[in-house]
Amino acid sequence: MIPPSPDIVDYHEQTPEVKERFTQLKQRPVVLSVDNVTKDFPTRNGVVRALHDIDFEVYRREFMCVIGPSGCGKSTLIRILAGLEIQSEGEVLLDGNPVAGPGPDRGMVFQTYTLFPWLTVKQNVMFGPKMTGHMSAEIEADARQWIDMVGLSKFENSYPHQLSGGMKQRVAIARALANRPRILLMDEPFGALDAQTRAQMQAYLLEIWRNLDITILFITHDLDEAVYLADRILVLKANPGEIDEIIEVSVPRPRSMEQFISPEFIATKHHINQLIHPEQKGDGPVLHFPRLTEAGDDVE
């Protein structure tokens, strides 16, 4: 749980360097613009509004995280951005052009493993360029570089079932990047990984992001992950899915795991936590447990 010590710093407070970074960020061109997007799902019990009036922008080379309670429409949002779902109202613009259907300019990494089991690691990475009409001879060397970048050179001829979960997601990242997308959309890509692998993958992703001209929109439900990775965090609330707040993370870059206990980090996390779980402001929820044992010891 998060220690209740928010009075150390205000999460709004930014050092001059951080302020400068955000000023620069906002001067960059807008890669992705989401204009008043609303999504309704028709169901048997009437229309379910999954997203309501979502409006935000992502700047070039920005790392933006989306966080929110389960069922608030995070996946729906990213699927609309990827073109896998069509919004009911509003518009999505990529570099100023409206998005219509899925395309190689928006790479996507899914939470579930979506490598093609019949292709080797290298063939998986070459899949996108091949679909967009490049010759195999051209793209093979390119694919090798991407595989090398995610540290899987030894496995380029392995099949996905021979890889661990973390390795599979690394290949998925390489596969998405091989298309040179304008933006990388990631829907809880590390959700199924264990804590250590996940920490490794986060560091990996930051390293890749720093070295490539790539914009990332990253969905997570993990507060640490969001604050550790993001420039800005878009907090959604549920029923219907609406933007609660867009937070500029005041933790300076480059980031490291040591910052997890820095005051800015904790303050930001605390703030988001209160947005997502407002009921925890007081003494916490009162749960009624049946008395199960006669032990009677008080563990706290």
């Binding site: 190689p104 979506t114 060397a141 570089q145 298309n179 001209d213």
Partner: protein, 474 residues
């Protein structure tokens, strides 16, 4: 690890019965062996242990009964209940005869020639026993001179019948008959054959199973004979029959795969085709294929065409539905991922759907091939009977079940080994599946996988080396 506090080695006992848990490989193979040995043992036990079942008596020696038209010959089976009755009838017939011989009228009004004819029959009743003892060959069963000699040897005790032997009462009868016969002529003389009635030998037999359950050794020996059966006139040899049957199964099956798979894949991929084709297919498959047989003969006339068509009708509609279901079972996420990677609609079909469903479809086809074998039996009875089924049909009608069984087993073996081979091949064709991994180290797999690699190598050496593109820019 493995040490209990008391210092004793803890041995983890693996249970034989655990829900959905694979057994260790040695146990699994033992059970696999037993799965075949057990039925064979049961069959052998029922065949060779006379106290198990054996509801019939197989006659080794038969006799004619007066005024009864049903004639049993050696080799026939009679029920266990009826056999003593049969023996009793012959005995009392003999008693009557003895009384008659002592009376004033030993011929009881019959003519000498008719008595002589009846006596010759009695003489020959011993022939089957002589044959199985090896005293005469199967061609000599009508050579009365030899049989006459044999009667003499049996009666005088010069030679003894062993397998089967004669019962005491029958040896007694043989002696009596021989005394009477030798008094007329010491050697066989057709014209001067005894004209006072001879006693009948009392039927002998041993417990046996009905003819529809031949014993394993019997099936094995006649199996070899059946397999080697040469062509005779317009009767094809067994090998030709097998070839014919396989042609019909695979002809019908491949035809329905050729048409059914593309339609099934289209139905599973596009709702348009699914709605257009599947409802009718679903209805049609409930009409049993054999009901179309006369129709198919009318359309395709004689020979193989209607037979192949029947196998086709039997498998095609199932194939469309099964393949479309398998296609629909493809993980939707793979299709979405492919789209975000830039695959267009047409590419989805060729680059995701088809490679993605191949392993499951391969298994579907294995099951459907089993169906095709089932339809074969009906197909071969359509129009002009042919192939293995024709043999089973005709031999079965003569109750030659020892010839029928090997052919039934043969069909089973062909189907079984085809399927096992295809299962083995699956791991080689689809190295990305779990089975494939285990398979890739198999020697046969290595040879098979070597060929495409060789071809690839030959081609890749001709193409120019790829230009090195840059990875992402900072």
């Amino acid at each position: 690890m493995g040490e209990s506090p008391s210092g004793k080695k803890l041995k983890v006992k693996e249970p034989w019965f655990a829900v959905r848990r694979e057994l260790p490989s040695h146990r699994a193979s033992v059970l696999t062996a037993i799965s075949f040995i057990l039925p064979l043992l049961i069959w052998s036990a029922v065949s060779y242990l006379p106290f198990l079942w054996h509801p019939d008596i197989k006659l080794q020696l038969s006799a004619d009964r007066k005024d009864v038209t049903t004639v049993y010959t050696a080799g026939d089976r009679v029920s266990k209940e009826f056999f003593p009755e049969f023996q009793e009838a012959v005995r009392s017939q003999n008693e009557e005869l003895e009384a008659q011989l002592k009376s004033d009228d030993p011929l009881a009004g019959s003519s000498e020639s008719s008595v002589r004819r009846a006596n010759k029959k009695v003489l020959r009743h011993l022939a089957p026993v002589l044959e199985s003892n090896g005293w005469i060959t199967s061609e000599q069963t009508k050579e009365d001179e030899l049989i006459y000699e044999a009667w003499k040897d049996v009666a005088t005790g010069k030679r003894k019948l062993k397998s089967p032997g004669l019962s005491e009462e029958n040896i007694e009868i043989a002696k009596q008959n021989w005394n009477a016969m030798s008094a007329v002529s010491p050697v066989y003389d057709s014209d001067n054959f005894i004209s006072v009635p001879l006693l009948s030998l009392v039927p002998q037999g041993k417990p046996s199973n009905p003819d529809y359950l031949p014993a394993p050794h019997h099936v094995a020996s006649s199996g070899l004979e059946v397999l080697m059966m040469p062509a005779e006139g317009d009767r094809p040899s067994m090998v030709q029959r097998i070839g014919h049957s396989i042609r019909i199964v695979f002809g019908g099956f491949l035809l329905s795969a050729l048409i059914g798979i593309p339609i099934g894949v289209l139905c599973g991929t596009y709702a348009f085709f699914s709605r257009l084709i599947e409802p009718f297919t679903d209805f049609f498959r409930y009409m049993p294929a054999p009901t179309f047989s006369t129709l198919l003969v009318a359309i395709f006339l004689a020979n193989d065409a209607p037979k192949i068509a029947l196998v086709f009708v039997g498998t095609f509609f199932q194939m469309v539905l099964v393949v479309s279901n398998t296609t629909r079972g493809l993980n939707m996420n793979l299709l979405e991922a492919a789209q975000t990677l830039g695959a267009k609609q047409s590419q989805l079909l060729t680059h995701v759907v088809i490679p993605g469903i191949l392993p499951s479809m391969y298994n579907d086809l294995r099951i459907l091939l089993g169906w095709a074998w089932t339809w074969l039996v009906i197909a071969e009875l359509v129009g002009v009977k042919s192939g293995l089924t024709e043999f089973i049909e005709s031999q079965g009608r003569y109750r030659n079940f020892d010839l029928v069984f090997p052919v039934i087993i043969l069909i089973g073996l062909i189907g079984f080994f085809t399927d096992q081979f295809l299962a083995f091949l699956r791991g080689i064709i689809f190295p990305w599946t779990k089975e494939g991994e285990a398979m890739s180290s198999h020697p046969v797999a290595k040879v098979i996988l070597f060929i495409p690699r060789l071809i690839k190598k030959a081609f890749s050496s001709k193409t120019s080396p790829a230009p090195t593109p840059q990875a992402g820019q900072p």
